[in-house]
C-alpha cells in the first residue's frame, strides 16, 4: 500500500488537502478497482476454473492476501491505541492517519474473502445460518467489529480534538480497540491453526505468531505512510518519531523470527511428519519465500538497529522490506498447508484435481503446488486498489492531519 503512496504523494504539490497528486491517486485507484470488478465478474460468470485453485489446493492468492491485509491492518490501530491506552507518549501526530491505514487494510481484507467465495450472493446466509463454532464465522464477526471499531475510534479522536469526547472515553475506546486488534489476528490464525488436517498450520504458536507478524508489517506500513505524507507536505512529523518506530520494528521483527525459529525447531526436531514442513521451507519448493522472508527481515533489522543507517529513505526501505517479508510468510503458510498432501497415492487426475494435474501426484507437487493465474493477480490488484482508494479518500475528505497543523 505504501510504495504507490510514496510514489504518488512525492509528486504531489504541498497543498492543504493533498492537491492534484492525491486526486490522481484517487483516480488511478478507482480505475484499478473498476478493472478488478470486471475481472471478478468474469471469474463469477466463466467460473473459478479460471483461477489456479483446485480441489487439492483449494485456497490461493486471495486468502494469502486476506491474511496479509488483516496483518497490515494491525499496525495503525495498535500504534495509535497503545500510547493512548497506557498513557504513554505517542508517535507524534500520525495517530489518525495510522488508524486510516487500518481501516483501508481491513476493507481490502474483507474484499479478498468476498472474491474468494464461490457464491458471494449467498453472503447473507452467514448472518442467518451462522455456525458459531466455525473459526471462519468467528473471523467474520471479529473483522466486522474491528472495522466498525476502527471507524468509531477515528471518529472519537476527531471529536476529542474538538473537545466533544473526553479523555477517559477515548482511553476506553483505545483499550477496546487494542483488545479487538489482538483478537482479529488470533482468530485469523485460528482459521488455519485449528485444522488438524494440515501439518504446517496445526500449531498453537500460530495465533501469537500472527500477532507478531501483524505488528511487523503494520509498523512497516505506518512508517512508510507517515514518511510519504511528510515528504508530500501533508503533515509535519518529528524525525525522532520515525526512529522510534524503526526501533520498534526491529524488536517486532526479532520476535517474529524467534517465533518462526521455535516453530521450525519444534516441527523438525522429532524428525517425524513435521520434518517435511521444515524441508519444504528450507530447501523445497517454498525455499524462495522462506529465504526471502529471512533475508528481508534481516535487512530491515540491520537498518533499524544501526544508528548510522537510520536515514529516512533507508527506514522506508526497512518498512517495505518488513512488509515484503511478511507477504513471503503469508504465501509460504498458505501454499505450505497444501504442499504436503496427507494422502499422496496415485489416483486418476482430472483438471479439477490439482493445479498441475497433467502428470502424476509426484509431478504435481514437485514445484509449488499452486501459482496464481493472471486473472487472480488482476482481481487481487483490484481489491488492493480498493484499499488504496479508501485510504486516499480518507486523506482527502477526513480531518486526518494533526490538530495543531490544520
Amino acid at each position: 500500500m505504501t510504495d504507490t503512496t510514496a510514489a504518488v504523494a512525492a509528486k504531489a504539490p504541498a497543498k492543504k488537502g493533498g492537491g492534484v497528486g492525491l486526486n490522481i491517486a484517487i483516480g488511478v485507484s478507482a480505475v484499478l478497482v473498476a478493472a478488478g470488478l470486471v475481472l471478478w465478474a468474469m471469474q463469477l460468470s466463466g467460473g473459478m476454473v479460471q483461477t489456479a485453485m483446485r480441489n487439492l489446493d483449494s485456497w490461493g492468492l486471495y486468502i494469502t492476501g486476506f491474511m496479509f491485509f488483516v496483518g497490515l491492518s494491525a499496525g495503525g490501530l495498535i500504534i495509535s491505541s497503545v500510547p493512548k491506552a497506557f498513557g504513554l507518549s505517542g508517535f507524534g501526530g500520525i495517530s489518525k492517519v495510522a488508524v486510516m491505514t487500518s481501516i483501508a487494510a481491513t476493507v481490502a481484507a474483507i474484499g479478498l474473502v468476498v472474491v474468494d467465495m464461490g457464491q458471494p450472493f449467498r453472503v447473507w446466509e452467514l448472518f442467518v445460518y451462522s455456525n458459531l463454532g466455525s473459526p471462519l464465522m468467528w473471523d467474520i464477526i471479529v473483522l466486522m467489529v474491528y472495522l466498525i471499531l476502527s471507524c468509531v475510534y477515528l471518529w472519537a479522536q476527531v471529536q476529542a480534538e474538538k473537545g466533544k469526547v473526553g479523555h477517559t472515553a477515548l482511553r476506553v475506546i483505545s483499550v477496546v480497540a487494542l483488545v479487538t486488534a489482538v483478537l482479529v489476528h488470533s482468530v485469523t490464525a485460528w482459521i488455519f491453526g485449528l485444522q488438524q488436517g494440515r501439518e504446517m498450520w496445526h500449531t498453537a504458536l500460530l495465533a501469537p505468531w500472527f500477532v507478531s507478524s501483524a505488528l511487523v508489517c503494520g509498523t512497516g506500513l505506518v512508517m512508510c505512510a507517515a514518511a510519504a505524507l511528510r515528504a508530500a507536505g501533508y503533515l509535519k512529523w518529528d524525525q525522532a518519531n520515525l526512529v522510534k518506530l524503526a526501533k520498534l520494528l526491529a524488536v517486532f521483527l526479532l520476535v517474529d523470527l524467534y517465533f518462526f525459529g521455535c516453530d521450525l525447531l519444534t516441527a523438525g526436531f522429532p524428525a517425524g511428519e513435521g520434518l517435511a514442513v521444515v524441508q519444504m521451507l528450507v530447501s523445497g519448493p517454498l525455499a524462495p519465500f522462506f529465504w526471502g522472508e529471512v533475508v528481508l527481515s534481516a535487512a530491515a533489522i540491520v537498518i533499524c538497529v544501526v544508528p548510522a543507517l537510520r536515514t529516512t529513505p533507508l527506514m522506508v526501505v526497512a518498512g517495505l522490506c518488513a512488509i515484503a517479508a511478511i507477504f513471503c510468510k503469508r504465501a509460504q503458510l498458505l501454499v505450505g498447508g497444501f504442499q504436503i498432501p496427507n494422502i499422496d497415492l496415485a489416483a486418476a487426475m482430472t483438471p479439477f484435481t490439482v493445479t498441475n494435474w497433467e502428470g502424476n501426484m509426484a509431478q504435481a507437487y514437485a514445484g509449488m503446488v499452486y501459482w496464481p493465474t493472471p486473472l487472480e493477480f488482476g482481481v487481487a490488484l483490484g481489491v488492493t486498489a480498493l484499499g488504496f482508494l479508501v485510504f486516499f479518500l480518507g486523506l482527502k475528505l477526513l480531518p486526518l492531519k494533526p490538530a495543531d497543523q490544520e
Partner: protein, 209 residues
Amino acid sequence: MADKKLVMLVDTKRCIACNSCAVACKIENNLPKNIWWNRIMTVGGGNLDSPEGEYPNLKMHNVTVACQHCENPACVKVCPVGATYKDPETGVVRQDYDKCIGCRMCMSACPYTGVRSFNWEEPKYSLAHAVGDADAPEHQKHVVEKCTFCYQRISKGETPACMDLCPARARHWGDLDDPNSDVSRAIAGRSYEHLLDEKGTKPGVYYLV
C-alpha cells in the same frame, strides 16, 4: 449422537481395483465432468495401476477413497453456515448445495486429501441427459460436494450404489450398532484399519485387512 451408526466396510483383500464402484458412483449421482467422489488409489507405485517394489518382487495394492463420514468430522465444525452437517438420524455427513457459500473451509479442514470436490465451473456432462437416480440432488456451480453414502438411496432403504455393483463383493454397508447387520457380521473376527486414524476424526469407513 446419531440413532444409527451407518458405516461402510471395504475388504481390501477382496478388492480387485476394477473401478466399478467409482463408475457406479459417477452414474448414480450424475457427476459432472472432472468430478469423482470415489477414487481408486494405487498404493506404492507412482502412477495409477503401477506396481510397488522392484522386479521380480512386485505387488499390487489398491485402496478406494471417498468421504469417510467421520464420527468427529473436521468439515462440519468449520462450515460457517452449516451447509455440511451430520445427519442426526443416520450419522451420514451431508452437503446442502443450496446453502454452501463456496468458501471451501471444509476442503481445507478435511484431512482426507481430495474427497471433497468443488465445482470450479458450471457443471458439464458427457451426455445431454441426466443419468442415474432421479432423486440425486442437482449439481451446482461453485459449491462443494462429495460422497453422501448415496443419501437418496439409503433414505429409500437401498444401499449405496458403489457396493451394489462391486463384482468382488468387497463392500459392506449398514448399521454397526445392530449386531445382526451385514457389516457387523462381516467385521466379526477381522482386523481393520482407518485412514489417518491419528487425526482423531473417527472415520465411518473401515478397511478390512
